[in-house]
């Protein structure tokens, strides 16, 4: 599923509600559905659009503040559009010991953004993540779904060129 871009949503104000209806129709509307629902919304849109969060609140008969409170608690949820590609750099222990800090610096330098940031052209988002569970191959970097192990400076430059 490719996330929809903010510009598409703005062009068509109904896009969010329509997409949301389709997602909601698969849920029973129980309280326990809240997080899986938000996760699905985020997969679809790349972030949690305000309208979608309001829709989820109504569907689950929860106040908007509760939905907002839950979604802001979890690091996974984003409230602004993210880039087409997400680059995640591991800040786990194994990677730390093997010098991931310098790898992260290199990525920051190449993209001109810090973790949590997105390039202005909405191409790349950068995140730092606790651990990918590939510690034996540290330092580790993930571009979209592809895991790159035993990272070096040169490999960062090579990978980002593509």
């Amino acid at each position: 599923m490719t996330p929809i871009l903010k510009s598409d949503i703005l062009k068509n104000g109904r896009a969010v509600t329509e997409q949301l209806e389709r997602i909601l129709s698969r849920y029973k509307g129980e309280r326990g559905d809240l997080i899986p629902l938000l996760q699905e919304v985020q997969t679809r849109f790349g972030y949690l659009p305000e309208e979608a969060m309001q829709g989820v609140a109504k569907f689950l008969r929860l106040s908007e503040s509760i939905v907002y409170g839950v979604s802001t608690f979890y690091a996974q949820f984003k409230f602004t559009p993210t880039g087409k590609h997400t680059i995640k750099v591991c800040r786990g222990t194994a990677c730390h010991v093997r010098g991931v800090t310098r790898i992260l610096e290199e990525v920051e330098k190449q993209l001109g953004i810090k973790p949590g940031g997105t390039t202005p052209d909405l191409e790349y988002s950068l995140e730092s993540i606790a651990c990918f569970g590939s510690c034996a191959l540290s330092p580790v970097m993930v571009v979209d779904e592809t895991v790159y192990g035993r990272m070096t400076h040169e490999k960062v430059r090579e990978i980002l060129k593509r």
Binding site: D33, T93, H96, C131, A136, L137, S138, G149
Partner: protein, 640 residues
């Protein structure tokens, strides 16, 4: 279908595969294998097989644990034992196909070892490999040998026979078996599993729930991921056995979203179980019914804590609450709930399959069986290991792990992640069991084991872990929320060369308070890295404070770079590479670093040609160098 029918079909499929006249190629394609490049190796193998017109069966298996040698490929030629090759590149894969499959040269030079009956001249047995010899495979019994996406492979290797045995027993007797096995929780705290089950079974409630904790939040740990990717049914069978024993009707697997492959394989496994009648109503014709739902984590470390996890499953903010009531009395939606770690469930299925005596034959008096560890950091053979409890840290680091790379000195081993401790060389002979590790100030934890060498700064490690726990503190209780922040501030000061000796006592005192006063074990254990490092490495803290010196040359504000005048030949490479343009020099002039401009990026040290090695990195000392460039003193060593 009865289980006997299912089993004989599975065995027939497995036998047909084993006695197939086609060669079989097993490729370790778990997340770690893929990260090491298993994907391109698979492509290369497929292309070469097609080109040479060779028919072969390719099976993507889980991880055998030799992560340092990834990608790992096993080749089984009909009538020959399974031969395992490490560090396989696409080029090597092509060579293996041509030399071994076409010409019958098994390439002993590339082989790690053989598995199973028979032998090949010049190739040792894989399980005699120094990394594998000390290991015992109970929970990882199938990882790397079977196709994790094929339930028949699991069943043919004894899978679900433990469930069938349990179903023939009274639920209370199943709990007795687990109690007798001496199994303790593998998620960190080590609570006796059978006793926990008994509490849950005996608690009054309308319904009972069961949770598999697959949140694996410790940075530096990947045991649960490997097991779920390599043998998901081993965990699921354990859950079914537990559900039957406790009378639970609904199970949850709370798995972190960072593990997409594990999630995919779990979903697939659940579907296969349903098809076989191993999940749903009246499992295998009994009156036992059970369902399992997968819940993805949303990126909060604290949700690994049981009460926080339950809040998260209920759709709330994942904040822990005080216990009692314990989950066994009042858990999910107020009903009795039992929560166990992935590995604990994986051990349960093995215990029911192979028997209590067999399991309890491994380990020590108080810690039975085996434990998996994710061995990583500064060690030659990184990987996923499973060792009998009671093995010493030294055996893990030097026998299994093959020691420290580059002949560096071992400094410390960190167990238990942010909740654990750093243990020094003097404790290398400590046996790995729950009590010994706790006594030393660390914990068994879920199995992260990070080896550090002389180039690792212990204060930096303590700061690193504390920055993790501080950021992950949910903020509900004051000692954890504010205490970890204060501790972190002190550690930051020390690493930045602003530390004071008085603050060291304050740090120790705060650590004790946070430990005693926190609501949940996140805060309760967060001080462990600080307390153990203060206990075993106080001299490193003092060097940072009294001498403004970082012995491992890690803490940036405390290190400086110099160009040695007697070695520099004025080649200009560092001058051109220096990002902040902090280097002055000229043709055949000794270069000089302007310390006020230096950002300590290490670039000059990296680019200085090794034949000069003129750049040095030091801490706590000043090296006398000229202030301005002077003509080169060294005799020319030319170009290479």
């Amino acid at each position: 279908m009865t289980f006997e029918e299912i089993r004989s079909r599975a065995v027939a499929e497995w036998k047909a595969l084993e006695h197939s006249d086609k060669p079989r190629i097993l490729i370790g394609a778990a997340t770690c294998g893929r990260a090491a490049g298993a994907g391109v190796v698979i492509e290369a193998i497929e292309a070469e097989l097609a080109q040479r017109n060779i028919e072969a069966v390719i099976i993507q298996v889980g991880c055998i644990g030799l992560c340092y040698a990834e990608p790992v490929v096993d080749i089984i030629k009909p009538g020959r034992p399974r031969t395992c090759y490490g560090n396989v590149t696409p080029e090597i894969a092509v060579e293996l196909i041509n030399d071994y499959l076409l010409k019958d040269n098994p390439r002993p030079d590339l082989a790690l070892g053989t598995v199973g009956e028979g032998s090949i001249d010049g190739i040792p047995r894989l399980f005699d490999h120094p990394m594998l010899k000390p290991q015992v495979r109970i929970v990882l019994r199938n990882c790397g040998s079977i196709d994790p996406e094929n339930i028949n492979h699991y069943i043919a290797n004894g899978g679900y026979s433990g469930l069938i045995k349990a179903l023939s027993m009274k639920p209370g007797d199943v709990i007795e078996e687990v109690k007798k096995s001496g199994l303790r929780g593998r998620g960190g705290a080590g609570f006796p599993t059978g006793r926990k089950w008994e509490f849950c079974r005996n608690a009054p409630g309308k319904e009972r729930y069961l949770i598999c904790n697959a949140d694996e939040g410790d940075p530096g740990a990947f045991m649960n991921r490997s097991l779920l990717e390599g043998d998901p049914h081993a965990v699921l069978e354990g859950m079914l056995i537990g559900a039957y024993a406790m009378g639970a009707t609904q199970g949850y697997i709370y798995c972190r979203a960072e593990y997409p492959l594990a999630l995919k394989r779990l979903n697939l496994a659940l579907k296969q179980m349903e098809e076989y009648g191993l999940l749903g109503d009246n499992i295998m014709g009994s009156d036992f019914s059970f369902r399992i739902k997968i819940q993805e984590g949303a990126g909060a470390f604290v949700c690994g804590e049981e009460t926080a996890m339950m809040a998260s499953i209920e759709g709330r903010r994942g904040m822990p609450r005080s216990r009692p009531p314990f989950p066994a009395q009042s858990g999910l939606w107020g009903q009795p709930t039992n929560i166990n770690n992935v590995e604990t469930w994986g051990q349960v299925s093995a215990i029911l399959q192979r028997g209590v005596e067999w399991f309890a034959g491994y380990g020590t008096q108080g810690s039975k069986g085996t434990k998996t560890f994710a061995l990583a950091g500064k060690v030659n053979r990184t990987g996923l290991i499973e060792v009998p409890m009671g093995i010493t840290l030294r055996e893990i680091v030097y026998d299994v792990g093959g020691g420290i790379p580059g002949d560096k000195r071992f400094k410390a081993i960190q167990t238990g992640g942010p909740s654990g401790g750093v243990l020094p060389a003097s404790l290398l002979d400590l046996p790995v069991d729950y009590e010994s590790l706790t006594q030393a100030g660390a914990i068994m934890g879920s199995g992260g084991m990070i080896v550090t060498d002389e180039d690792t700064c212990i204060v930096d490690i303590a700061r690193y872990f504390l920055s993790f726990t501080q950021a992950e503190s949910c903020g509900k209780c004051v000692p954890c929320r504010l205490g970890t922040k204060q501790m972190l501030d002190i550690l930051e000061d020390i690493c930045n060369g602003r530390g004071k000796m008085e603050a060291l006592d304050l740090l120790g005192g705060l650590a004790e308070d946070v430990r005693a006063g926190s609501l949940c074990a996140l805060g309760g254990t967060a001080p462990n890295p600080v307390l153990t490092s203060l206990r075993y490495f106080r001299d490193e803290y003092e060097a940072h404070i009294k001498e403004r010196r970082c012995p491992a040359l890690v803490c940036q504000p405390l290190v400086s770079y110099y160009i040695l005048p007697e070695k520099c030949e004025g080649c200009g490479i560092c001058l051109r590479a220096c990002p902040p343009e902090a280097i002055k020099g000229g043709k055949r002039m000794v270069h000089v670093i302007d310390q006020s401009k230096c950002i300590k990026c290490n670039v000059c040290l990296e680019v200085c040609p090794t034949r000069f090695s003129a750049v040095v990195k030091v801490s706590g000392v000043e090296i006398p160098v000229p202030e301005e460039p002077i003509p080169v003193i060294a005799e020319s060593r030319g170009r290479d």
